[in-house]
Each structure stands twice: as structure tokens, then as C-alpha cells.
Assembly symmetry: C2
Homo-oligomer: 205 residues x 2
DNA sequence: CGCTATATGTCAGCTATATTGACATATTTC
DNA sequence: GAAATATGTCAATATAGCTGACATATAGCG
């Protein structure tokens, strides 16, 4: 069985103590008898619920790093997402960004306006279609975007021990499979475009 | 290299078409030249950024199922979290719940009051310490909690192909490692308490 | 017995992020 | 020239979080 699920918390740098957690969630263990439910769960949620919770905790800490940094700049998660995706795909149109973020243009606009005003993002009219406003990061926007990206990348690097391809692939496959089946093509397409941007393509003829 | 990252999106049930995505994020590819940045990223973010984004998309879809169901009940994510953790650890105290959720008591109280009023959660005074209000789900609360849990569990089951222990362990280890090092002991402790509740302990005497 | 600490509730006001609906403008396309 | 598209904007609303201040009940201690 999984280490995570059974060994005493001896995983990270001196996890203090198993019976009395460090900063410690309070203990209030024994249900005072007379609960309305059975002692053992009927069907499903054997140990899978552990995964559900681990995903919750992992994501929270994953975004926590960036949140803290953003606070010092007076920005929030919404700004982070815009910076991130514009950094990944410079020249992204508003419509494309809306499609990625799945928010309304009104929501995006508030945040985007702040980033434009702060001089972190720049919008240029599209060359072919002048109705479009294509988004780019300014050097300062890039600096922040990369500072944020580094925080999050480093967590992955730590976890996957500096990325031996098989480990990285396993994680990527797992996360990709967690995405809604009908969204995977879109995500795949997005990643491909980001890779083109990075000059890392090898599909090219 | 990873399937996810290189094969044409032929992963899920008929992903439509690679060059023109199904519901399709818009395409606006070639940066109109004259960008301020280099063509290839300096140091870090090789392919790790893909993982960062996959984590983002995966989490969004992961909570999306539950969000949709909750909407039909007029509840939100905050209610979900309370239902979930009370279901996992019946008899949880307010303080313990606050420690897990990492929100203020004021934030919790608004949501909790609604759940109490709706008759999904019940609070009983602690037997030993009568100041405490220990939380339990009513049968109706349990029903909703499990409906939600099932949605999320099923996603994991689908992904990890009905949970052969090694796959489940790998996922659990990966997610656990993504958690802040100084939080792992607490999470571990929480999982242990949940497991005790489920009568699945084998650490016993 | 009182004093203090703890567990919890509550009022009031603020912020960030999202929503809907309606309407305005510029540009492309047919 | 009309219709469709890409975008911006105003206004109202909801959710989920926050801070600060203050109230109450119970526990624990000397």
C-alpha cells in the first residue's frame, strides 16, 4: 500500500510527531456514540476519498506560493492567470483567452484593465483582423510572470526529482486524464501552441 | 516522451479534429513579429509549465462536476467542503474544521448556518467539553455528501482504471508530495482520523 | 470561588472574483 | 450596405473570503 497512506509521517524534513501534529489540527476523535450512520462505508469511497482530499490540499498549496507573491504586488489569482497564459502564448486574442479561462469578458476586462494600466500587459491590434486586440507582456510583465512560473515549476521539479522523463510523463498523463474527456483536445491544442511559441516544436516539416 | 504532450489529440472518445478543436479555442498563432522576448526560454520552464497548466485544468474539471450538482441545490463550493469534511470525520469540532479549511470562523459560520438551517448538518455539544459544537451530517446531508463524493471518486476511478494499488499509490504519493512539506504531517493525521472513522484502521492497539 | 483562557457566535463593513443583461463601437464579410 | 464578429462598458448581483470588535458560555486553575 501507499507510503502516504500508512507510514507514520516521516516523509518530509522532520515532520515533528505523528500523534500530536506540529501546528496541529485539533483532535476530537471518538464520535460520542449514537451516530446515525453505519461504521463502514457501504460501497464506493474506500481509499479513493483520500485521493480526492489530497488533490484538494495539493492544489491549495500549489497556488498558495503564487498567491503570496501576488499579494505583494496587489494582484490576485485572476491576474496571475492572465499573466500566465499571455506569457505562454504571446499574441493571444481576447476571445482565445476567454475560452481558456472560461470566464465572461466583463470579468476578464476588470483584471485586464488593471494589468494594462500597471504596464504589465500590452494590447496591439491584430495585423490581419484589426478588431482583435492581441495581448503581449511587457518586460516587467514577463518578469513577474516568470517569477510566478518559477515558483510553481519548482514545486513540480522538487516533487518529480528534477524530472526524469518517465516520472514527468506519468504525472502529465495522470493530470491530462483528470481533465474532462471533451476538453482534452482543446488543452492539447493549447499546449501545442505554447510549445510552438517556445520554439520547441518537432512536429514541423 | 509523454503521450499527452506529443500525440495528436486522439486520446478520448473521438476528439474531433486536431487542427480545428471541437468547441475549439480560437487560433491566433503567429506573433506578428517584433516581440520583445527571445524565441527560446532562457532557463527553467521547459516542459514543466505544461504540468503547471495541466494541474490547473485538471483541478478545474475535478471540482466542476460537484459545482454543477451543488448549483441545483443552491449551494456552492464552500458548502461542499463543509459537507465533505464533516462526512469524512463526523463529530468534527468547529476549530478542527477551521484548521482544515484555513478560513476564518466568520466565513465558515455563514456557510455552516445555511447547512444547519437546511437540515443537512447537525451540531451537538461536546460530551467532554460542552463549549464545543461537534458537527454531524443528517441523513439528508449524508446523501448529498455521498453524491458529491461519488462524482469525484468516479473521476479518479476512471483515471486510475479502477485502482490497481500501484497506480493508486503512485497518484497518492505524487499528490501528497505536492503538499507543502510542513503541512504533510497534518494532512496525514487527518487522513488517519478519517480512516479510523471508516473503520479501516489496521494500525490499531 | 473567582479569574482567565478557550470555543464559539455575531455584527458590520470591505475586497476579489465571478455572474447576467443591455448596449456601444469598430471592423470584417457577404 | 447589411449582418456578423471582436471587443468594450455600465449596472446590478452573488459568493466567498477578509478584518475588527464584541458577546457568551464553559473549562481550568489557583
Amino acid at each position: 500500500m501507499s507510503d502516504v497512506l500508512h507510514r507514520k509521517p516521516a516523509s518530509s524534513p522532520r515532520p515533528a510527531c505523528a500523534s500530536a501534529p506540529p501546528g496541529g489540527w485539533r483532535g476530537d476523535l471518538p464520535p460520542p456514540a449514537g451516530t446515525t450512520e453505519p461504521l463502514v462505508r457501504d460501497e464506493d469511497d474506500g481509499g479513493v476519498l483520500d485521493l480526492v482530499e489530497l488533490f484538494f490540499f495539493a492544489y491549495r498549496d500549489f497556488v498558495g506560493d503564487a498567491d503570496r507573491l501576488l499579494e505583494t504586488y496587489g494582484f490576485g489569482r485572476a491576474h496571475h492567470r492572465v499573466l500566465h497564459f499571455v506569457d505562454r502564448r504571446p499574441g493571444l486574442s481576447i476571445a482565445a483567452l476567454l475560452d481558456i479561462l472560461r470566464i465572461t469578458k466583463q470579468s476578464l476586462n476588470r483584471v485586464l484593465k488593471q494589468l494594462l494600466d500597471a504596464g504589465l500587459v500590452e494590447a496591439r491590434a491584430g495585423a490581419h483582423d484589426r478588431r482583435q486586440r492581441l495581448l503581449y507582456l511587457t518586460p516587467r510583465g514577463e518578469a513577474l510572470a516568470r517569477e510566478l512560473a518559477t515558483l510553481q515549476s519548482e514545486r513540480f521539479r522538487r516533487v518529480l526529482g528534477d524530472m526524469p522523463p518517465p516520472a514527468r510523463d506519468a504525472a502529465a498523463d495522470f493530470l491530462f486524464a483528470m481533465i474532462d474527456a471533451d476538453q482534452r483536445a482543446r488543452v492539447h491544442d493549447h499546449l501545442a501552441r505554447a510549445r510552438v511559441r517556445d520554439g520547441l516544436t518537432d512536429d514541423a516539416p
